[in-house]
């Protein structure tokens, strides 16, 4: 992908609210405000996404969080720290590390945001808890708004440039 918008919903779709990123990705893929963007579902972040970050105009990572209250979501701009340290133990790569790899290896990283939502249940199951399910449409709206504001997708604006 080059100069496009990439949306990655990640988590485990079989552990209830941990699959929030997948549920969000399904809605985002159908959302006309985001037409033209690439939407992926991933279980976890992996190093090759650094290449996408170097080639995209905007990347949004959608994630579950145990740090936020259930149903509360936040939008975080990823800032690569100088002392970024991913354990080599895990298959998972952090957003911060992905941005650092993109900058170090390819000389460019686009703006990357993490949209996180607090979870209520991580039990086995493929449905969201009611509180997270309720927050999902708002979260999708926030992501669409973010994409339109930061990447200025023409499909997201009306003839007078207003957000649809």
């Amino acid at each position: 992908m080059t100069d496009g918008v990439l949306l990655v919903g990640y988590g485990n779709a079989m552990r209830s609210d941990d699959g929030l990123g997948w549920h969000a990705a399904e809605r985002l893929a159908e959302d006309q405000r985001l037409a033209g963007s690439v939407v992926l579902q991933r279980q976890q972040l992996t190093p090759e996404l650094a290449l996408d970050i170097s080639e995209s105009a905007l990347v949004v990572l959608i994630d579950a969080s145990t740090a936020l209250a259930p149903g509360v979501f936040s939008v975080t701009m990823v800032e690569p720290a100088a002392d970024v340290l991913d354990r080599t133990w895990s298959h998972h790569v952090s957003p911060t590390t992905l941005v650092a790899i993109a900058r170090e290896l390819y000389g460019r990283a686009c703006e990357v945001y993490v949209v996180s939502c607090g979870v209520q249940s991580l039990d086995i199951g493929d449905r969201l808890s009611p509180v997270v399910e309720q927050a999902l449409p708002q979260m999708v709206d926030a992501i669409a708004e973010l994409v339109v504001l930061r990447a200025v997708l023409p499909e997201g604006l009306d003839e007078e440039g207003r957000i649809l």
Binding site: R15, P47, T66, H91
Partner: protein
Amino acid sequence: MSNTIVIDPVTRIEGHSKITIHLDDHGEVVDAQFHVIQFRGFERIAQGRPIHEMPSIMARICGICPVSHLIASSKACDQILAVEPPPTGADLRRVMNLAQIVQSNALSFFHLSSPDLLFGFDADPAQRNIIGLLQANPQLVRDGVGVRRFGQQIIEWLGGKRIHPSWIVPGGVDSPLSEETRNRILSTIPEAIAAIERAIVWYKSSLLDWADEAASFGDFRSAFMGLVDQDGNVDHYDGLLRVMDADGNLLADRIDPTTYTDYLGEAVEPWTYLKSTYWKAIGYPQGVYRVGPLARVIVADRMGTLRADIELDEFRRRLGRVPGSSFHYHYARLIDMLYASERIEELLRGPDILLPRVRAFAGINSNEGIGVSEAPRGTLLHHYRVDDDGIVQWANLAIATGHNNLAMNRSVLQVAKRYVKSAELTEPMLNRVEAVIRCYDPCLSCSTHALGEMALQVQLIGPSGVVLDELVR
């Protein structure tokens, strides 16, 4: 935006596995256990599901190797439908499975293990990671990202959908391959092979540096198990099971994998959620065998492709026919990747690969099905029983990490005996425990994402059961 913008990093709760090292009255290591403390429960999820849903559900078991579960699950469903995929459908499944092998092995070697090999096991963890690697050897990281993307793109291009392709289905694959996609994949193969070969050259140049680790990183006599084809060559998609002992003798050969319960037992221990499979003829817990890339290159007569066979010859010249050390998983993983890339090209250049007939259709014709394939980490079995309406009543998954569980425990014990010299844990010791487990590339961390970043917790336990020391990373 109506919500607060938070700039803090996302924090996570850790806790997926731990290692306990037990000392006797003299302070000597007497036992070590690798505990998986996160219940996965995927077999329970399967119960009550219609069989046609199983491949896409099982693909969600693992974020690193979803295709492997898709393949094994679809093969189990093939048996329940009593169908064989058309040859082109089977070859397209093979291509996707091999792409999975490449991308998963690439993550293990380039991202997880190469920092150990470049900086050494005594290096500061702050340096011994992908960022340190970026600064010391950017070409290696670039190659790693490139090879992973190569495998991942094949999976996505074959899947042909924007999100979460479930292209592999019971009876074959969902749609034929287009000429455009075939050519697009073919155009990416030379660079992938070049990158893998650069990594092999680099690895071989540093192999002698790690003689001490190779001698204590799970260097023991055990059997090895993998799938081979009718000619005895490695086979990742189909084939028959071959089991070889530490002296190169065949304990079993050309076993129909659907009879696995005759040969493999599954033991459950109270201290871990991970089942331990064992070779029944030897018994538990002595019946240790290993699976995965090292087992594949050991049990097969040949790989079956030109470049991989040249590397296999050198591997055997350097290490012998049955190298006992799990350290050599790294070397084998590279050969495995090289083979997979070559084999993808062979399959895509096959005369029938673009044929439109790729799927067989049928209803429920059997109440039981077993699907077997080689996943990146080793032999993977999905076993389902369904009622007459195709609703899953029972499921059993024998995953590669379970096959390797006994070997991993033995490897941790060996490293602990070699490197634990007091009632205190040290960073170099922890580095090596971490690294020996990494040889097997166990896949434990995807059970939950929010909880799922696998921490390493090591406890040193005295003879009275008191925790003498603890390190968490």
